[in-house]
């Protein structure tokens, strides 16, 4: 056996002479021959495809790599999950890994959506590519499922309640609804079983579906039909875009360049401008005032907000999904140019507009509405999350009793605090005008209760029209200056 045979047999195993057991060679042959030897030159020109399919694959690869490393540190139990995420920040490059995983996950969903949109706009789903469109739709569905299942894993209030509400929606399905909710949650509410199920879905089951599906999708795109170029390019046969270019080195070289440039930008963003959110630890006994859906489900939150019941909203969502899924079967014309498909263009614009509108409505639902004293407190000092008082740096919180609307202060206050007091004053005036309240006053008390710890109390006193005694509303938060200012910078009495 010469060296070549030795390495070949190490890689491929012994040659199989008999007809049976051919499935493994078949699968390995599929993966080994996934990529064609030649591509059209147009497929590596950015303006033709915007590399959206490539970016989707790249972000998925980043997800897999960072996800495997994160699995080393993550413990999927309610008692340890949050702590393990916190501890990750103490590992060198740990926070970078988590930020990369989160940002690449969001970009994965976004790029997959844009990729589908480009395919729809360019009419590339037509004719022989109908099945490819189906695999793409399935991929988008599973990518969203991947993102949603991973959303719970940090085990903070935001994720816990978003997933609780999200899974609760299935309960509206007739017949199987309650059963499905219990299967997903591992009980009537999400606990250790539910977290473990979401973890297994996120790291094993969904990737086991997504990765082969991606291979099939890519095989159909690149090898079976070729990457679909915009109609204007494809129509001009003499165009340079149709010239064949070899996989090696031309295509691979371009892919490496795009990969390196993308990784550079991704790492630069997470290192200097992005922090994966982590709220308070999940508390099943405390429902937050406002539950936020993940950004890619804000449209669903908006839809549920305007629908009178959950079931019609779910029916609408499923119907829309099926309409997208079977698009090539009812749009059977071979015309791909946008100008020749006015009805499609009109429907697409209306659908996108609706999607944006519902997303906007979903965002609005997370904000407190109204002008009552309770709402004002919720805006300025929210029970969960961060409000205006969190926007000030620790040093800007000048200790003292600050009466809102009064220019008389016994000591100099920071400019940030002055702006905040002005803001509270303007909100108070607006609320008083809207609610016909008289004598609405507010005081902000900032005390240093410990080294580097301040207690901030916003107290509102309101005279309602029908009562003699004022009613007092107050909320207290604590802020710390750890890591911001040296410990001994507190005023010392000498």
């Amino acid at each position: 056996m010469d060296n070549g045979d030795f390495f070949q047999s190490s890689w491929r195993g012994e040659p199989r002479l008999e007809a049976k057991n051919r499935i493994l060679p078949g699968i390995s042959s599929f993966f080994l021959h996934l990529r064609p030897r030649q591509y059209s030159a147009g497929s590596i020109h950015f303006c033709n495809t915007f590399y959206l399919g490539f970016f989707t694959t790249l972000f998925l690869a980043v997800e897999v790599l960072t996800g495997v490393l994160l699995m080393v540190y993550y413990t999927p139990t309610p008692a340890s999950a949050y702590q393990s995420i916190q501890n990750l920040a103490l590992v060198p490059f740990g926070q970078l890994l988590r930020d990369l995983h989160r940002l690449a996950g969001d970009l994965l969903v976004f790029s997959a959506f844009l990729h589908m949109l480009r395919v729809a706009v360019s009419g590339s789903y037509k004719g022989p590519r109908r099945s490819t469109w189906l695999t793409g739709c399935l991929l988008l569905f599973f990518i969203i499922a991947l993102a949603f299942s991973g959303y719970l894993l940090p085990w903070d209030q935001l994720s816990y309640w978003a997933v609780t509400v999200g899974t609760g929606l299935f309960g509206a399905l007739p017949g199987i609804g309650p059963w499905l909710v219990e299967i997903l949650r591992g009980g009537s509410e999400i606990g250790a079983d539910g977290l473990l199920r979401f973890y297994v879905l996120h790291v094993v089951l969904i990737p086991l579906v997504v990765l082969p599906l991606l291979a099939i999708h890519y095989y159909r795109v690149a090898r079976l039909h070729g990457i679909s170029l915009p109609i204007c390019t494809a129509a001009r046969r003499d165009n340079d875009d149709l010239r064949p270019v070899p996989l090696w080195p031309t295509v691979v070289m371009r892919e490496l360049q795009v990969t390196l440039a993308s990784l550079f930008m991704l790492i630069a963003v997470v290192a200097f401008a992005y922090d994966a959110p982590l709220g308070q630890p999940a508390n099943p006994l405390h429902t937050p005032t406002h539950i936020e859906a993940p950004w890619f489900f804000l449209w669903a939150q908006g839809l549920l907000g305007i629908c009178p019941a959950t079931l019609p909203a779910l029916a609408l969502i499923v119907t829309s999904g099926l309409l997208v899924f079977f698009l090539p079967w009812y749009d059977r014309t071979q015309r791909r140019s946008r100008g020749q498909r006015p009805l499609f263009a009109f429907t697409l614009i209306i659908s996108l507009g609706l999607l944006l509108l519902l997303t906007f409505l979903g965002t609005r639902q997370q904000q407190p509405v109204g002008h009552s004293p309770e709402t004002l407190l919720e805006v300025l000092v929210p029970q969960d999350g961060q409000g205006h008082l969190h926007g000030l740096a620790y040093d800007e919180l000048t200790p003292g009793v600050h009466t809102v609307g009064s220019t008389k202060t016994d000591r100099k206050i920071s400019s940030g605090l002055e702006r905040l007091l002005t803001l509270i004053d303007s909100r108070l005036r607006g609320a008083a005008d809207n609610q016909r309240l008289s004598d609405m006053s507010s005081v902000l008390i900032i005390e240093t209760i410990q080294p580097q710890v301040k207690r901030i109390t916003l107290r509102q006193s309101v005279h309602f029209d029908d009562s003699v005694a004022p009613r007092t509303f107050e909320r207290t938060i604590y802020r710390h200056g750890f890591g911001e200012t040296p410990l001994l910078s507190e005023a010392k009495n000498k």
Binding site: E447, T448, R471, L488, A491
Partner: protein, 265 residues
């Protein structure tokens, strides 16, 4: 053409390596800042939990409440408490262990006001309490953060909170509403019948000022709500069960109800 592509690839690879090297250089500082930030977040969480669960016995500034709970922001707590209870490990472990598991026996003959000796209840979920391990750790971190001020190495500025206006009719009215809602089931007034178990408070505004030497009327009422057994009206020795009042009332409500009672002279 191919050479240009190679040069571009090399440049991008080098740029990525430089970025990773730069990020790596910052990692040590970032980890230090994260440790400080997480400690701060834990202290802030501890402050909130302390206010919700511990303040009623140990005081909002850890000053202790008479016979109910010992002072925590106190030099003795950080220097002498461990010897007092025979604790051999560190003070931080003592705080965490006591907060989590409680103390089955009081170390001093304190009277809790409900016929039992004041003991520290367990707060950890595993011991029958309601707090998770991270919350116990947060409370411990918050109490430990009093060490510098307790030992006198740092003195914090004290702000002058405006004294409550006890004569304000609106405050008195609000206090009356609080009294009717929370106190009337035990204490009666001349024009407000009701009350079972507690002494009548008719004319308390006049009585309070001279009842305990050294205490003003306001201070006496505060003390009676927070530490009811500090002064027990004759005939009510076995019935003092007002420990819960301190827990029920917010600071604003306490001031309002005090104003209301002072007004009843």
């Amino acid at each position: 053409m191919e050479g240009r592509e190679h040069r571009r690839l090399t440049f991008l690879g080098l740029a990525l390596c430089c970025l990773l090297f730069f990020v790596g250089q910052q990692e040590e500082r970032r980890v230090e800042a994260t440790i400080a930030m997480q400690a701060g977040e834990a202290v802030v969480t501890g402050a909130r939990l302390y206010s919700e669960n511990c303040r009623k016995c140990h005081g909002s500034r850890g000053e202790g409440l008479g016979q109910v709970g010992p002072a925590l922001a106190d030099k003795h707590f950080f220097t002498g408490r461990m010897a007092e209870v025979g604790w051999l490990l560190g003070i931080d472990e003592y705080i965490a262990a006591t907060t989590g598991a409680g103390r089955m026996m009081a170390t001093r003959p304190l009277y809790a006001g409900n016929g039992t000796t004041a003991v520290m209840p367990p707060w950890a979920l595993g011991h029958g309490g309601s707090l998770r391990a991270d919350e116990i750790a947060a409370i411990s971190g918050f109490v430990m953060n009093w060490r510098a001020t307790a030992l006198g190495t740092i003195t914090l500025p004290v702000i002058d909170l405006p004294p409550p206006d006890m004569g304000n009719p609106a405050t008195v009215k609000a206090g009356g509403e609080v009294f009717s809602k929370l106190c009337l089931s035990c204490h009666a007034l001349a024009d407000l019948p009701g009350g079972h178990g507690g002494p009548t408070l008719t004319g308390i505004g006049a009585i309070a000022s001279g009842r305990t030497p050294g205490l003003s009327a306001t201070e006496y009422i505060h003390q009676s709500v927070l530490i009811p057994e500090a002064f027990v009206v004759e005939g009510y020795g076995e019935k003092t069960d007002t420990q819960g009042c301190g827990a029920l009332l917010s600071e604003v409500q306490l001031e309002a109800v005090t104003a209301f009672l002072l007004h009843r002279n």
